[in-house]
């Protein structure tokens, strides 16, 4: 007895849908590499990556300042976002009464839904002036003029820290909840109080998942474009202080792709190649190594 057509044919169609993600990832990688490769071959990958100067008009393409800028704002955002996010996750998993946990979780969800240009606008009109005030009044003597605009690493880190909070909170909370009950009960049975139990028992047990959350948050920070463009100042020069204006890798593409052509456009695609590789490595690490069991709920 053979199955009717729909029983055999439709599931195959659904399989094609499921394979679309693979196709898209392969296509994205292929086309970005295809466009970026000629320039990388001509200039050399390492002189592109470690070149100090970005002067598209003169055909000089070095992205070290953007690499430094990306690293600076990413670590800045993690410095603020990780303690706040993990502590909020501890609150949700261990301390919060049911209704308060519910509302906190809804707030975090909403935070994830706000468009990045809205964060950018908030950053431009609230955070940048605040940073400018601090730079001028508290460190005025130490800083050169371009560092007193408010646009720069500090402002970008603050905005990014808010934007990566949802990723860190959600994944860390899942990780904390996935810790077997027996661990906590064992600790309580020994008379260990709540915070010590969390600190010495729950957190180490959830380490892998929390690491995955942090790495995925890092990926979001590196990939973010719009909000950063609006608050980072976008100067393609190596930062000399935490108030320096910087340009990130993603910002570099967003800023110049609109009018680039020829070698310049290829150099922007090559910037995309670097971004693509970094993100694939980070996410591969998070999903395969650190994140074992993170998604198993």
């Amino acid at each position: 007895m053979s199955l009717p057509v729909k029983e055999r044919f439709y599931p195959k169609l659904l399989m094609l849908c499921a394979l679309t993600s693979i196709l898209v990832v392969v296509l994205v990688g292929f086309f970005v590499f295809l466009q970026g490769y000629p320039l990388l071959a001509k200039k050399g990958f390492f002189s592109f990556l470690f070149g100090m100067n970005w002067l598209p008009g003169e055909g000089t393409f070095g992205i070290l300042p953007m690499v430094a800028g990306t690293l600076a704002v990413t670590f800045g955002s993690l410095l603020i976002g990780v303690p706040l996010g993990v502590t909020t996750a501890i609150f949700l998993a261990e301390y919060a009464p049911k209704t308060i946990a519910f509302w906190t979780r809804r707030s975090v969800e909403l935070l994830a839904g706000i468009p990045s240009v809205v964060y950018g606008l908030f950053g431009m009109t609230i955070i940048v002036p605040a940073v400018r005030f601090a730079a001028v009044n508290w460190f005025g003597d130490l800083l050169s003029p371009e560092m007193k605009t408010g646009f720069g690493i500090v402002a970008a880190s603050l905005v990014l820290a808010i934007m990566i909070l949802p990723t860190i909170v959600n994944i860390s909370e899942d990780a904390l909840r996935a810790v077997p009950h027996e661990y906590k009960e064992g600790s309580y049975a020994l008379g260990v109080p709540r915070w010590q139990t969390i600190f010495y028992n729950q957190l180490p047990a959830a380490r892998a998942g929390i690491t995955a959350g942090i790495v995925l948050g890092m990926g979001r920070a590196i990939g973010e474009t719009m909000a950063i463009l609006m608050v980072a100042g976008n100067a393609p020069a190596l930062p000399r202080s935490i108030f320096s204006p910087v340009r990130t890798l993603s910002g570099n593409i967003g800023l110049e792709m609109a009018y680039a052509s020829g070698d310049h456009a290829q150099a922007l695609f090559a910037t995309g190649v670097v971004l693509f590789l970094v993100i694939m490595l980070l996410n591969g690490f998070a999903l395969l190594v650190a994140g074992k069991g993170v998604r198993a709920r």
Binding site: T88, W103, T104, I114, G120, R194, S250
Partner: protein
């Protein structure tokens, strides 16, 4: 320091962090609404932008956003939900499923600007005869790539929440596998799948970076899917950065925030419906 004091301090610290997280959200949403709501009027919605958007309203970006969102969702929802059905109903855990999951997660992580570069090279340049270069179709195809993982993942969760007994009951009555999925599983999971689409809509509306490279950014009202357009998010960015006219930017941001709030509420309501249907978990 006594243990009791330490415990108290830790508890205060943890509550403080959560409070700060919520306060940040309230501050941002409140600030945007306070700055932007005052500028909203009927004419703001019904007038086209003038002088690069620094004057006039948001009619053309609004129409652009609606066309673009509808087209993107009508591409992404069938494929995403189809993929989720395949992954939950027609496979067992195995190498193929693991590979598909890995790539779906990987796709979710690719920065939108990189997807934008791909969209530019592939849809704008290579497929120009089909897509019309910079156009709503190009932007939608690009955004499709970005929101696919969101829809797959949330639909999968909705399908997983349907108890196994629903399927077994249907199969035991002699209903075929395919008919069980279509007539029993899918209708039960429908609110959850709608939530997946709403989350997708939220992401599409907020997306900007990839669209800068693919949608064209035109201020004119789009005539067809082959016309260039701009969305509200793009409009906000371009107005704030190029004209410095913050009152228009804030009003646009307020519209975006209101839409996101509404989507969020609707998504929550639908999830409640789903939970009520499957007996609450």
């Amino acid at each position: 320091m006594s243990i009791k004091l330490k415990e108290r301090l830790a508890e205060g610290f943890v509550w403080g962090a959560a409070l700060l997280t919520v306060a940040i959200l309230v501050l941002i949403v409140g600030y945007i609404l306070v700055q932007g709501l005052g500028k909203l009027s009927l004419s703001f919605f019904l007038e086209n932008p003038r002088r690069m958007g620094s004057e006039g309203g948001i009619l053309s970006p609004l129409i652009g956003t609606i066309f673009f969102t509808l087209l993107t969702m009508s591409l992404a929802t069938p494929v995403g939900v189809g993929a989720a059905i395949y992954l939950t109903e027609f496979t067992r855990e195995g190498p193929l499923v693991r590979v598909i999951r890995f790539f779906t997660d990987a796709l979710a992580g690719i920065p939108s600007i990189v997807i934008g570069l791909f969209g530019f090279a592939f849809f704008v340049v290579l497929l120009r005869p089909l897509t019309g270069g910079w156009s709503i179709l190009t932007g939608s195809l690009t955004a499709f790539c970005m929101i696919l993982p969101t829809i797959v993942r949330v639909s999968e969760e909705a399908l997983h929440s349907i108890p196994q007994s629903f399927r077994e009951g249907s199969l035991a009555l002699g209903v075929s596998k395919w008919d069980t999925v279509i007539h029993v599983v899918l209708p039960s999971a429908f609110p959850g799948i709608l939530t997946a689409s709403l989350l997708g809509v939220g992401r599409v509306i907020g997306e900007t970076a990839a669209l800068l490279l693919t949608l064209g950014g035109s201020l004119l009202v789009p005539k067809s899917v082959f016309s260039p357009a701009r969305t509200l998010s793009m409009h906000l960015y371009l107005v704030a950065m190029e004209t410095g006219e913050f009152s228009v930017a804030f009003a646009t941001a307020a519209v975006l925030v209101l839409v996101i709030l509404l989507l969020n509420l609707a998504g929550y309501y639908l999830l409640r419906r789903l939970m009520a249907r499957v007996g609450g978990a």
